[in-house]
Every structure is written in structure tokens, then in C-alpha cells.
Assembly symmetry: C2
Amino acid sequence: MMFDRLCIIGVGLIGGSVARAARSQGLARCIVGYGREQEKPNLETAKRLGVIDEYFLDIGPALREADGVVIAVPVGAIESVFEQLKPYWSDNCIYSDVGSTKSNVIVAAGRVFGTVPANLVPAHPIAGAENSGVEAALPDLFQRRRLIVTPLPQTEPSALNKIQVFWERMGAQVSVMSADHHDAVLAATSHLPHLLAFALVDMLGRQDEQCEIFKYAAGGFRDFTRIASSDPTMWRDICAANKEQLIPLLHQLKTELDKIEQLLADNDGRRLFETFSYARNARQRFLDQLEN
Amino acid sequence: MMFDRLCIIGVGLIGGSVARAARSQGLARCIVGYGREQEKPNLETAKRLGVIDEYFLDIGPALREADGVVIAVPVGAIESVFEQLKPYWSDNCIYSDVGSTKSNVIVAAGRVFGTVPANLVPAHPIAGAENSGVEAALPDLFQRRRLIVTPLPQTEPSALNKIQVFWERMGAQVSVMSADHHDAVLAATSHLPHLLAFALVDMLGRQDEQCEIFKYAAGGFRDFTRIASSDPTMWRDICAANKEQLIPLLHQLKTELDKIEQLLADNDGRRLFETFSYARNARQRFLDQLEN
């Protein structure tokens, strides 16, 4: 048993899936949940479904005797969670999170604790689903998914190791890298595509109101814009938290679009073909990796 | 029987599917195919599969006694097909095409014939598939798909009507609009998304060569970039043919990206949320239409 008492802060899709996966792999003797007053119906559901053994609306009792804490709240709420945890912070407990951005977690911890605690291990499981809420939580959500941990120099090796093993036992493939590198990689492969999809559909939606263009859109458009149906609050928080990485990528993309515009204006079919072919081959490289 | 002898110029995925659909709906007594010498193996396959009754590598015999011709070649090849058709052009035949851009078809016809013939009805079935080639041709590819016809003032009403009915019998929902309007709508909902997907994957592919970012990309990225796996030759031709519509849209998109960058820089979470929410709702409107 890795944890005697595991406390999940925020029992939604990801927090609930951590609880279900930890339970199905026998990683915690007891799993409790914490949420705010307005999350009571959700926590009731989590308890009824057996995702958690008990829930609390007060942070103190929720943390009592916990030797593991997983923070699974929206990216924008991490600092206020640290504020709540601070009075109860325990050296006998290991803390981790699941946020989609990592530098902001470290900055927030530094602001609240003065220095980032050695028993806090920032982590990010690269997994999600179209649905949200604890009803959608799955015990195998992390199977064969990537998990990135971003330790600091002061991070206790034993705490880091325990979090790595915890996620490996839940089926994830664990990578270790700096928070900055994590944020740069995720900005490119996740945050920028989401921002682009939102931007395109925002722009075209306004044209559609004037002259019904969506009527003639087909399957390619559906796939391309799928991520524009993602939760706006969650993505506002992620984009804001990672704007230092996102803004330079937006500039790069605009340079790329300028290049392509120039090729079109110049009727440079050869280089247009080369660009499209390079992209097609690069995507194939991505697909080959996704399958392995 | 709508056509006694239907000639398909270019028997690939779309041309082959027109042949299969026309046969399964009993719209043509005899269906023949035409292609260039290097397409002989493909035409053999088409004949063996029963997609066409006969094929020709010479345009004259292919057109003999044809009362219907469907041109299903890549967008960039339309003008040279008109040149080939010109010596055999017949008033007893109706001509149509399936190109993804329409103004270029009209311009090409004008260049070759002096004025666009009254029995040429430009058309575009909004359908496709991941695969290409006659082996992938399906008799129901156009079922419940949109088909846009873009007649000119001189287009013979009887020819226009016959092409409309032909596509309706193959299951398509037919809309009539000007070629310019068609090209503007498709630039927005199809050509710009393809260009964007190619641009993004071209840019990120180069970063991946340096530091393995695709390793950490997930399902959202796979869907968003699916159209970057499209055929580079086909899309080079389409983008080049419709650059007059595409370039202004690229400018609009860059303005939209500038707007979003400013919201990020200003920490304007409220307007960022509004933009993402608007996009999400607009996409839902598109999905609702796609289902009906």
C-alpha cells in the first residue's frame, strides 16, 4: 500500500480518475475527497459511486492523517488551494498536482510558502476526455498515457520517486523534465492548437451569423475544430497561466502564415507543395509515436 | 435513364464514386472512363471492379456518343482537360465537373472556349474520404452530402436542371450559388483550415526534429492535425486556385490572433473567456446543422 490515506482536492474528471485508478491498483487504503460547499452534490455523487470513501467541505479534517495529497483543481485555482493547505502542511505527507501548466504552480507555491516545499512534486498527466465531472472518471484514464513530473533542485528524491511509482502503477509512462521545458512543449502541442481552434471558430462563427457558411462545412472541419468545444474556463486559465510560452509561439505561427501567404502570392507551387509534404510527413512521425 | 453514355474524365475516388453512385441508382446505361497513359493500371482496376464498363486512353473515342461528361481531375488540371475536350465539344452532351474551387473552372473555360459554354455546369460535391484512388470509391459517398452548383447567366436551364437531378438522385442535397460565393464559403470552412493545419504541423515538425515535442502530444492534437495528412498536390492546387479568397482570410485570421495575443498580454480573462465561449457555441451550431 503506497498511501494509507490519500486526499484528492477537487474530485472532477481527473481527480476522480486518480481516485478510481489508485483504488483499482490498490495504491491507497483510504481515499477521501475535498471540495467547496458548492461542490457538495458532486462529492455526494463521488461517494455514492465509490470513487471516494468520504468527503469533507473543511480542509482541516480532509487532510487529517493524510500521507498523500493530489491537487486536481483548475489551473487558475492552484494558489488559493496552496493558501488553504499552508496551515496544515505536513512533513509526513507527499503533495502533488495534475495541472496542465507547471511554472505557474511553482510560482504560486513560492509566493505562498516562500520557497517551494521539498515534499511538493508538480506533475501533469497528459490525459483528458470530452466529458467532465466525476461521473466521467475512469480507472484506466492514465493507461499508456504520458505523465510529466517537473521536480525542482530541492525536491526530496524519495517524494519524487514515490510520485513516479504512483503514476507508473496507474499505467502512465513517466517523463521527468523542467517546468519550463514542460510548458514550452505543451504550449506547442496542446495550448497553441486549442487557441488556434478557438480563434478560427470565433472568427468563422461571426461570418456564419451573416451568411451561413457552416451549412457547407464537412467532416474535416468537424475534426479540426473539435478542441474548440473544450471548456472555456479551463482553457482561459491554461492560456493565461502559460502566456509567456504562448505569445512567442503565436508570433512564430504568424511568421509561418506570412511565409505561406507569400508563396500563394508568388504562385510558388513548388515550395507550397514542399511545405504541405513536410507537414504530412511530420504528422506521420507523430502518429507512429502515438501508436508505440 | 438520365444518360445513355456517361464519360468520367479521371476515375479516382470522386470520379469512381460518381460512376458507382450513378450505376447503383440506374442513372446511366453505359459508363466509360478516360485517363492518361500513366493511369492505365488504375483504369484497369476500375474496369475489373465494375466501376466503369470500358476505358479509353484517347479522348476522342472516350467521348464518342457520350451525352454526359463528368470531369473529376485535380483542380490544377482542369484547363488542360478543357483543351482536350474542345475539338470534340458537342451540343448533344452536358458537361459538369467536381472541382473544389469554382471560379478557376469558369476562368479556365473562358480562356479555352472564349466564353463559358451553356452546356457546362460547374459543380462541387462536398465529400471526400481519407483514402484516394478508385479502390476507395463508394456508391453512397454523396448520400446526405452537400452539392453546390454554380451556374452562369448563360447556363442552359435544362442542363442545370439535369445536373441538379443527377446529384439529387445520388443522394446529395443540392444548393445553387455563384462561383464567387462558393469559393468564399469553401475558403473559410475548408481551404483555410487545411492551410492552417499544414502551417502548424510544418512549424511544429521542425521543432520536433530538435526536441521531440510530438512525444507529448495527445488525442486533441491528432484530431486537430488530421487534415494535415491530406494529399499535398491536391491542396497545393486548391490553395493556388483560390488564393484570391484565401489571402484576405489569412489577414483576418492574423488580426484575430493579434486580438487574442493582446487579451493574453493584458490578462483580460473576461474577454478571453467570452471569445472561447463564443467559439464553443458557434461550433455547437455547426454540429447541430451537420446532424440535420
